[in-house]
């Protein structure tokens, strides 16, 4: 069976009703922990957006808020990254993964207390970590800036979540294990492992010199590939068939996609150091792994596309589907771009430029974050038993987010290419290059303003649905019946 639930099997109305009641019971059991993760994720999204705007403005206007050590660019920028990576993205991912696990294990969520404790600890860890960065206690290792005490709290919280996941999995109703569960399982193992190995080799007992850089970028890339990506794919594999009400196109493609991702993504990372002081074989291995990533990406893209075929019209009615499919499409684009960036000829140009930042946002925002928005739009009404009060806010959110991220990626990509081409030419003075990047960086700041406005709309929606404002709508379980989204 290749659909995320048993509802595709032919059944009488009685069985369908029983199924719906089952699902409603599962959703009710998830309410507290999942809403806790969602709510705090959205709060961090807002915090992260503020840091992002500050950093963006500082990059064109260095005197802006320059006299406060806590707000210097070199602190605000990692504060942004960590607030959005650990505060927003990870927290959202955990919330979505918990709900998916419960739905796919087909049993009401148990041991909610473990998850509530994990949520509290997780937020505490992120808050301490971000504050430490602002206070100047950062490790200054990209993606791993949190000092040991904060990292440790995150690790403990994560251990709780992993234990919970294993318990849930063992208590699942017998039957098919759906592809989303493989991804969630992978992610739940990979992340704590990756995080603890890397923290111990870089922070607790740091290894020598440039080996640190290798490990740093192995993490920097694998946290994307083995943590954020699997959760987003798990969500997409669930949402698309679920919302369309038909099974995923091919079971075999999804197996191929999963194992090839596990095999190749984990070998990525070294291409962040092309030409750097690391062994040549390692650079080559990473280039090969990057290019091989085309296999899982193309397989998954075909699988999603074939499932969507004939149903693209639904993108107009279902917000959850629209966000999710937007994310899925960007997954293909960002991955193909990533593979090309590992090639020496292009890497030489883009390596130290804003092009890479554009790529990072295409991945973490256009793909991952949009997918999470989609999932939250689907899941939240089921938890609070109330439909989203305002279609306008959702629409505003979608258009601000999509045009915002488009503007950001285009401006950083073009600005980065110009920067890279000029850096390659030693006759162009450095300050000329700086001057040429500024207009693109201004555009980026504007894109940040669009995204932030979108986040405010989303946060407002979320508060309104929690408060159950507006009038009660019929048939809360099937979002596709929602017609107020033209």
């Amino acid at each position: 069976m290749t659909s995320p639930s048993s509802s595709s099997s032919p059944k009488g109305p009685k069985a369908a009703l029983a199924d719906a009641l089952d699902r409603a019971a599962i959703d009710a059991s998830c309410r507290l922990p999942v809403l806790l993760f969602f709510g705090s994720a959205i709060a961090w999204l807002l915090v992260g957006s503020v840091f992002a705007l500050l950093a963006a403005i500082k990059l064109t206007t260095p005197e802006f808020l320059a006299d406060h050590a806590w707000l210097t660019f070199g602190r605000v920028r990692p504060a942004h990254l960590n607030a959005v990576a650990y505060g927003w993205s990870s927290t959202a991912a955990i919330g979505v993964a918990i709900w998916l696990m419960a739905r796919l294990c087909r049993v009401p969520l148990r041991h909610a207390r473990i998850l509530v404790a994990a949520a509290v600890l997780w937020n505490l860890g992120v808050a301490i970590g971000v504050t430490a960065i602002l206070a100047g206690a950062s490790n200054a290792i990209e993606w791993l800036e949190f000092p040991t005490y904060a990292a440790f709290i995150l690790f403990v919280s994560y251990a709780f979540i992993a234990v919970w996941a294993v318990l849930m999995f063992r208590e699942r109703r017998p039957g098919h294990v759906y592809v989303s569960q493989w991804y969630i399982f992978g992610a739940f193992f990979w992340f704590p492992w990756l995080y603890s190995v890397v923290n111990s080799m870089l922070v607790f007992w740091p290894v020598q010199g440039s080996v640190q850089a290798i490990i740093n970028w192995w993490f920097g890339h694998n946290v994307l590939g083995l943590w954020f990506t699997p959760i987003a794919l798990a969500s997409t594999y669930y949402m698309i068939p679920k919302i369309l009400g038909k099974p995923i196109h091919s079971y075999y493609l999804s197996i191929l996609g999963f194992w090839s991702l596990a095999l190749f993504y984990s070998w990525n990372g070294g291409h962040h150091l092309l030409g750097g002081p690391i062994p040549a074989w390692l650079q080559s291995a990473s280039i090969v792994a990057s290019v091989m990533m085309l296999i899982p990406v193309i397989t998954t893209a075909i699988n999603f596309h074939m499932t969507m075929r004939g149903s693209f019209a639904l993108l107009r009615t279902s917000p959850a589907l629209r966000f999710t499919v937007f994310g899925a499409m960007c997954y293909t684009v960002v991955s193909a771009q990533g593979s090309s960036m590992a090639l020496r000829s292009l890497n030489k140009l883009t390596h130290f430029t804003h092009y890479t930042i554009g790529h990072a946002h295409l991945g973490m925002y256009a793909f991952f974050t949009m997918t999470m928005f989609g999932a939250m739009y689907y899941i939240t009404p089921r938890l609070v038993r109330w439909e989203w009060p305002s279609a306008f806010l959702i629409k505003a959110h979608f258009w601000l987010a999509s045009t915002g991220i488009l503007l950001m990626v285009v401006s950083l990509t073009l600005g980065g290419l110009i920067q890279g081409i000029e850096l390659e030419n030693p006759k162009v003075p450095f300050l000329t290059i700086v001057a040429h990047t500024i207009p693109w960086l201004h555009a980026r700041s504007w894109s940040g303003a669009l995204l932030t406005t979108g986040h405010l709309a989303f946060a407002l929606s979320f508060v309104l649905i929690l408060l159950r404002t507006g009038k009660q709508r019929e048939g809360p379980t099937l979002f596709t019946k929602e017609r107020s989204f033209p």
Binding site: R77, V177, V211, G276
Partner: protein, 205 residues
Amino acid sequence: MNRGLTLFVGILATFTLAWAGLVLIPYLQFGRVTDYVSEETGQTLPPPMSGLAQRGHEVYAAEGCVYCHSQQVRGESQGSDLARGWGVRRTVARDYIGERPHFLGTMRTGPDLSNIGRRQSSVEWHHKHLYRPQSVSPGSVMPPFRFLYSLRKIVGEPSADALKLDGLDAPPPGWEVVPTPDAKALVAYLLSLDRSYPLPEAPTE
């Protein structure tokens, strides 16, 4: 795939394989590089960092200089780093053995600093630049680090290490701007950045 165990073993195996390949082997291969004592000069290379420079290394970490500056010089075929005068040779693993954390960096909003101590050896320039980068590099987007300096009333003799600031930056009469210990350490660190010594694996000719 219905077996939790198959899934688990596969997840474990793929990851362990990559960890061994990308972390363990590089670590075994060159995680214990030692410094090199030059036969000609008897000098230990790379030269060990002074305590003050080490402290400056920490300031560099806290202020996030690494988000705008790389410290790695790629070889000729890999970019124009050498042609830009950012070094006389590519940097190699041995250059970094004393650094925790590493500052290889991924971004060049500002120039590479692998050899800044050699390129710009004036303490005064560095202080002026850190105080307000635009005063010496018009059009720079580097942020000012004025919070690493203190404005102080001159009591008796002016301090020997007071900055010689003019124009916009000049303190009011009777006042002076002096570097904090952090600023001094940071500049000592910047001046220590000189990876132009020859190594067997990276000769300078």
